[in-house]
Symmetry: D2
């Protein structure tokens, strides 16, 4: 079978497409014929050697997010059967409940080999079924970006119908959060530097958009849109550069899910503002299988379709990564594996 590997973590050009023997499933294991994968910002960091979670595996197989068909099941497998359409879960041992350090040691395409191969062996506990109305490519977008958005909305104080959610930018997590929050009967305010992307966000359910290039003090617009009250939830993807404004855009007692690092790592935080506004700031790292299943039920019940910007053939992985680097996309970038 063909498989991509990261022999050196020296950037996109150092990726290697290899031929390897197709693995076989052991007890409680499942062999999946992968059909699609999707890219996350973290994958770019892994490939570039900037993902600091200890030394990577030799010849690491990259990418955490993939979907395919069950090809063969090992002894004792009861959760899936050959032919089932499945996706992996980001941390293979985080089944449900609170996160534990041991879970992080099982993250695909980082701590352990990932999914960018024609065949991958999973523990049966590390898989979920795909909703029927999703293609393999759509299903491949769920494990990291989708579950992160779900955890942002439901992992702390859960989103309730009628609340207002602020999503920053139009990256993968933000668009999932927008779609899920809209389906959940929330008002959604999106920010972007592009009026075109804000218009796209509105077609997906955003109630309002704020162009932060036109309004550098964008939290003022958000407060105005909420009648001065502020938003209930912020899906904070920017990190250090945006957090101070996010805290001012949140209501008294508001909830901020901190996910991203795009705008830097070091934030100058006013702790008096956190107290005075009774902010709840929660750090998010993807989520559990239970959360992935809950999200899939939400996607299923509301007929949601993940937004895919563009797909690339398996051979053209480097092009996919370069397109991701360009930042021109709206929604997810996928890789087809046939």
């Amino acid at each position: 079978m063909r498989v991509w590997t990261v022999p050196q973590a020296a950037g996109i050009d150092s990726l290697v497409l290899q031929e390897q023997a197709t693995p076989r499933p052991g007890p409680s294991q499942v062999l999946v014929r992968m059909r699609a994968a999707s890219l996350n910002y973290r994958d770019l960091m892994v490939v570039g050697g900037r993902y600091a979670r200890g030394a990577p595996l030799p010849d690491l197989v990259p990418l955490s997010d993939g979907a395919g068909e069950v090809a063969e099941t090992g002894p004792g497998v009861t959760r899936v059967k050959p032919g089932d359409r499945v996706a992996g879960i980001f941390m293979q041992t985080w089944i449900g409940g609170d996160i534990e350090p041991e879970h992080a040691a099982s993250s695909l395409g980082g701590a352990i080999h990932g999914v960018l191969a024609e065949y991958v062996v999973f523990s049966q506990d590390g898989l979920v079924h795909l909703p029927e109305h999703l293609s393999f490519e759509e299903g491949a977008t769920l494990p990291c970006a989708g579950v992160t958005a779900w955890n942002a909305l439901y992992g702390g104080r859960p989103l309730v119908v009628g609340q207002t959610v602020l999503v920053l930018g139009t990256g993968g997590v933000s668009i999932f959060a927008l779609q899920l929050a809209h389906a959940a009967g929330a008002r959604v305010i999106a920010t972007s530097s592009s009026d075109g992307k804000l218009a796209q966000a509105k077609t997906l359910g955003a109630t309002d958009g704020v162009n932060y290039r036109d309004h550098p003090e964008w939290h003022v617009q958000v407060l105005t849109l909420t009648g001065g009250r502020g938003v209930d939830h912020v899906v904070e993807i920017g990190g250090a550069g945006t957090l101070p404004q996010s805290m001012r855009a949140a209501r008294n007692g508001g909830h901020i899910s901190l996910i991203g690092v795009l705008a830097g790592f070091q934030a100058e935080l006013n702790t008096a503002a956190i107290m005075g506004n009774q902010i709840r700031l929660i750090g998010i790292t993807v989520g559990s299988r239970e959360q992935q299943q809950e999200m899939i039920r939400a996607i299923d019940a509301n007929g949601l379709k993940p937004v895919i910007d563009r797909s690339f053939p398996l051979e053209n992985l480097a092009d996919a990564f370069r397109y991701q680097e360009s930042g021109a996309h709206f929604g997810k970038i996928c890789v087809e594996i046939d």
Copy 2:
């Protein structure tokens, strides 16, 4: 001013429309010019002397649910101003948090005088603002039926987008629960003995309907509709007569909000079924001001309109109660106060 009273609690014909002096607001009090009220099943019990919460006040003013305009504010009032459109809250002292026995001693139209008068004095803490898109009649349906539905869905384990909700029948609470759950991105299954009412329920967002006359073992249909999994939430309005089937229709770990007593008070419960299915059974009695405000935000954000079957002039209160007794209505019955 004109005011209805219950001098004897001897049934609908014993109600008396009186002339009384218009009251004035004291410190922290608000005089409201009532514009509409709505009926709940509990009001029929009060009027009929079947509402066993101790001896009623002499000449009790009936009805818990009403809306109107602020006519005058007493000293120290900061939460509303003259001209504001407001509704009362069911228990005047249940502001937020958990229920306490002292709250029940402040329920309108039962423990204390109700709202069926041209002018009513409230504590400023016992009022909430109406959403702009609702009429006074629509606003008058919220305090009891609307808040009960909200508490049923959010007061125990909160409803999450993508879950499935079963609502029994098409009474006031059930229809609110249907509308709120639909707005929250849930699947909603409704039951009724009338195909016509089920059709109406579907226009309000019910995904499926089950006619329990055609299917006396209706829990089987519910299980089938959920692929054998069972529903996440039951809004259990029937009481003893329906609870055993509700428990079988619920999923492993499912949540049942027990609200109503229409089908009797004494249930023969199989405790092994509660354990084996890990049921969460929660008794509900309306809710707090905080819950009413959260519900109003949900109504506002989703443009929901309470379903009103019919309105009666103030003079025709007896006709309104008789219509309620007939059970022919779908949605709320209102009283206009001009």
Copy 3:
């Protein structure tokens, strides 16, 4: 190795002590040298053919609760190492989060083979470490009775310091609940038909005891002891026969964990009482590995010791079961495996 089996589920005398080949651990599996086991009421039901979860395995190995030492680890095992002192978890696949039907299919000594053998192979995910201050026998009491008590106190609305807990009787779950609630700074009221057992309960931390033989209307005593308020939590072990009084002993908004069936399966429940008192009634079936770990931290931090009434040698299993049937015990009954 020696192993007990249940060839026929025809009662205590039908149990057979066999010699079988010692198993070996496969990938992600762990071989444990069992050192102790403990009995639960459910085991008596399994042995007597009264545990209705479908046809049992042929020659089922009984008992869910056991502790021992890791003898050997299979490939890929990271969670334990040889020599570690461990106990199993009741449902081998319920790691954390909400219960799912698939978890019940992995319960030891019921759905799958249990622990009453000299060597048992577990999935590495189905084990937890023992606290250092516990013997193997003490550790063997945790998986079913201990975790059930924990789930009763923390699986619904979590117990908070200063609340009052009512535990019914002095069986295994009730005593664990008493000890844990006392360590958590709660007031604990215990009931029993024996003044001697009530005295023992007080030495373990019960604030008060009520003899239900002397006070058949024991809920009156409980209300008096709480100044009329009622208790916050009931650990309801009796089932149908005690539930009506438990509901009257609970406070407005009180929480009842329904665990046991000792006093019968069919309860005549007054649904108006559930509503009027806003009761939260939760069915409990043991708990997850995450809950077991949380409980172990509580045991560890507070130096709690499980209460063991008596231990029997492996050969004398029938005597152990007969002693359990007698009801004379206070605390757990154990089996030594050397």
Copy 4:
């Protein structure tokens, strides 16, 4: 009656002890004969003109925390009766549930007049009963420092028996948190620059103490004391200067309640650390009446006694504030009002 006022907010020496007419209670109001008050750091900020919540009332009566006896009740008062021993609540309108901006406008000794007078009129809703075993001085310490500690432990993810709590320093909130967490069966680690204060903390239930003068990198000690796991809860009183280390001392998924500003307002936060460690950072501002009542039940059930360092006669308020400024105290500083 005698009453202290803050005519100018120009520091301790600008406080004035006046004679004013004793007020009378109106409808739903209660006149309390104050017997004791206690100081909080915020009072020093108010007196010094550093409490930036808009222009203070003219001749503001300072101090939020006081206790006394009900002297007289106005019409309609049902919650207390003459002779009852009571304390005020910090925000007079925050009864229960989530915080709302309107609550902050009712905080005693800041937004509205405080308690440092021989007689104070409260709304009946703004009072709670004192536990019998507490003196007026002890009761006077609860409204701000006690409730803040409670909210820190229970207002976000609630503390559970067996968890580990880190309290920074030995100020009023930290000592309450220590006592409550100890009563709740938690392990408590305290920090201080004084070995003497650490020894005192241990007599109150602290399991371990870390001298941050000896160990400037004190989070290393905390990690060692928790076997590398980190603590479940941090009661973060220091603010900007200590938060970075608190985040490193917290476990994966740990909870930090941000309360104080003693070590500065501007924190340089590493947002990657918040995400990578899944930190939950919650800003706390005192709490609701419901929380105060829950805390009082915890104090009552466990016989806790607030720690009072020293009391001053009413006349010597300036001395009390100067003693507070010195930082030499361990526990609360009180004012006697006779």
